[in-house]
């Protein structure tokens, strides 16, 4: 199972996102789980990776907090909404945890088959 944080250096949110990802993984009983850091540097990379903004967190290639349908790819800061509707440069921690739990559970099920 690959847990990946994709980021763009032009947006300052990825250190906070990494800290919150580590906290969420610890909550899910996976402290110290390896996290692959993928730096997206060009618009071509963003298009190829389906990168809609920094940061994006994926488990086995699936977004833990999926973007709205049709969101364009590009080198930009990603706009998240917190559970109370406020804008944020990082995912709502509870939504991130729930997304990780769902994808990690699916990954375990795949590995068990």
């Amino acid at each position: 199972m690959t847990i990946e944080l994709l980021y763009w250096e032009g947006c300052p949110s990825h250190p906070q996102a990494l800290a919150e990802l580590r906290a969420a993984l610890a909550d899910l009983g996976r402290p110290g789980a390896p996290i692959a850091m993928t730096r997206v540097e060009t618009e071509d990379d963003a298009a190829r990776l389906g990168f809609v903004g920094s940061p994006s967190i994926r488990v086995d290639g699936e977004e833990a907090v999926p973007p709205p349908p049709g969101e364009p790819t590009g080198l930009t800061c990603r706009v998240y909404r917190l559970a109370d509707g406020r804008y944020s440069p990082t995912p709502d921690p509870a939504l991130l945890r729930a997304g990780l739990e769902r994808l990690i559970g699916a990954g375990r099920a795949r590995e068990a088959r």
């Binding site: 032009g10 947006c11 300052p12 949110s13 590009g74 930009t76 800061c77 990603r78 706009v79 998240y80 406020r86 804008y87 944020s88 440069p89």
Partner: protein, 174 residues
């Protein structure tokens, strides 16, 4: 050269979202210039706090001018029609100006959105930086910006004239 606290800031006249020219020079007791945009989560997270300041201080003869300088070709959410839509939706407590040439952002040394500049009556820089210490904490209510305005309006020095602006990089044209 980027203005520092105490310096006179560069003059400008920029179009608002209806194309009407808006000049920096005016009869305000203080002026707040904010480089902002439509696509940046930091700018959006702080947006309401900044508009609240604009409304709260309007009766004290404080002007609030917000400027979008981003490259609209690479970032179409910052295009003039998107700016106009937000203004028409009532999201701005003052003119929202388009710096298409990016010359104003360069003259001010603006680096991110939002980047806040508070000017005194003589259009000298009194504060430059972030609205407050944390985009996530609404209770901070743009306190650094309010503190600077209160000092300027009282004719006193600003206790904290510079902070580190935090946000998305301004999207310069290639």
């Amino acid at each position: 050269m980027t203005p520092r606290p105490g310096d006179a800031v560069p003059d400008f006249t920029l179009p608002d979202t209806d194309g009407a020219p808006v000049a920096l020079a005016g009869d305000g007791a203080a002026t707040v210039v904010v480089f902002t945009c439509n696509h940046c989560p930091y700018a959006l997270a702080w947006h309401h706090r900044i508009q609240d300041v604009g409304r709260d201080y309007a009766g004290k003869n404080v002007r609030l001018l917000q400027i979008c300088s981003n490259d609209r070709d690479r970032y179409p959410r910052d295009a003039p029609e998107e700016m106009r839509a937000r203004v028409q939706a009532g999201e701005f407590a003052g003119p929202y100006l388009h710096d298409d040439s990016q010359e104003v952002a360069r003259a001010y040394g603006a680096t991110v959105t939002p980047d806040v500049f508070v000017l005194d009556r003589d259009l000298r820089l009194a504060y430059r930086g972030a609205p407050d210490a944390d985009h996530r904490d609404e209770s901070l209510a743009a306190g650094w910006l309010r503190d600077a305005l209160d000092a300027v309006l009282a004719g006193e020095p600003v206790a904290r004239p510079e902070t580190e602006p935090v946000g998305c990089s301004i999207k310069w044209r290639p």
